[in-house]
Amino acid sequence: MGRKIIDIPLGSQHISLLEPIKFRFACENEKIVDVSSDVGFVHRGIEKACTTKFAYDAVPYVVARICGLCAITHSLAYTTAAESLLEGVVTRRAKYLRMLLVELDRIHSHMLCLSHTAENAGFEAMFMRIMGDRESVMDIQERITGNRVQFDYVSIGGVNRDITTDIEKEIRKTLAFIREKTHGYLEEFTTNWSLSLKFKGVGVLTLDEAYRYNAIGPLARAAGLATDVRSETDYLPYNEIGYEMRVGEGGDIYSRNIVRLFEILNSITMCENILGGLPEGEIQTKMKGKPTGEALVRLEAPRGELMYYIRGEGKAMLSRVRIKTPTFASIPAFIEVFKGSEYADAPAILASFDPCMSCTAK
């Protein structure tokens, strides 16, 4: 009798999925031997809308609606690109406030991912606890921007709101609370067998595969590939606020969790440094003119590298907006990780990638 290969789908609706994505696994017994993916379930044509329906100064608000979790990174990457075409200079205070929001966004996005990883290990209580603690980060974001999810905080020329001493105090309090909690999670994720032993050696992406398939973000850093756009660009002064790259080893789910936990701790430190050294000045500078030329901006979103390419012809509408989202670029790497894994591990592996389908299909 020859080898029997069975096709098993995961998605587009599945209990472990937050958003629609479909994988079709070709399995031999329990082992996955081949994978095909379908990612376009939530395609909304945002790239087209940005060039036909909305003028360049309204686009930051359009691209923010690609994804709720990464709203701030999308609008920030776009505005940075547009500002470079308009040749405007943003004040240092505005840059610091932008970094503050991006880092807060990273903290709560990583917490969401960790909670889902815990849930997929069968550890429901941990999921509830992390999600409960995550709410405090959302609260301070609401205090800063006036809204809980859609921040609409960054606009061309700077940021829309300033922070007051009251808010600063509240942020410091919440950051201290989250730091204490994160140390607790670190303890839990390294010593609790459901989260440590169970995840070691599962869903491995080797360093060579990470290079070959251009893995990005925590997925790459967990495999030992030292790439982070925060250290590869200079329009946001990350070197001034104590950014440290954390590179893991092993490239398995466990390693990805640990990288994310340390990134949360680093982001907390960075937020505190931002508050400590917040420069004085205006938060908005007026920018005039119409975007002409082309610009390419990369920004480290919570899930990895986000790239915006825009081209303007001196008119109110841009002629091209290209958005490369982190999950979209990582899908070939995802597929590589699935090959050779057990089918039963697939939901846990998928959750550890922290996929964002709204970003992918845009």
């Binding site: 909305f54 100064d57 309204a58 608000y61 359009v62 209580a125 509830m128 606890r129 409960g132 709410e135 609260d139 609401e142 205090r143 921007t145 006036g146 809204n147 859609q150 609409d152 606009s155 829309n160 709101r161 607790g184 303890e187 839990e188 010593t191 609790n192 067998w193 908005q284």
Partner: protein
């Protein structure tokens, strides 16, 4: 592992994360981004807010019964759709007289029900604008 066990027992005695809604009201933060409000008597009809609004939720259309504001030379009327608005505040930042002619309040919009003809009314406004 012991940390988890300890945590499991302390969790039994800790209060829940959720609030007792609707008995306990939801805490509304200060400077919450709410409805855009308009003070007609201070408006100078520069139409900057209309131009700045990303979704086009503010429209000035021609009317036969204009207000008595001397600045309103083209007999325009202000229309605002709270259900289209994204509450970003671009219009207030564009306004030459913020806090007098246009400001962002902390009020919430009402629920858009069929009886209010939310959509139909707005399509009529947009139709007037287009013609």
């Amino acid at each position: 592992m012991w940390y988890s066990v300890k945590k499991a027992f302390t969790n039994l005695l800790s209060p829940p994360q959720t609030i007792d809604y609707p008995a306990t009201p939801i805490k509304r933060v200060e400077r919450y981004r709410g409805l855009i409000e308009y003070g007609e008597e201070h408006c100078i009809y520069c139409l900057k807010c209309e131009k700045a609004c990303p979704p086009g939720a503010i429209l000035f259309t021609h009317t036969d019964t204009p207000t008595e504001n001397p600045k309103n030379k083209k007999s325009l009327a202000y229309d605002y759709n709270p259900h289209l608005c994204i509450y970003c505040g671009e219009c207030v930042r564009a306004c030459p007289k913020p806090n007098e002619a246009l400001w962002q309040s902390e009020k919430k919009p009402g629920i858009g029900v069929k009886e209010d003809r939310v959509n139909e009314r707005w399509f009529e406004v947009e139709g007037r604008k287009g013609s």
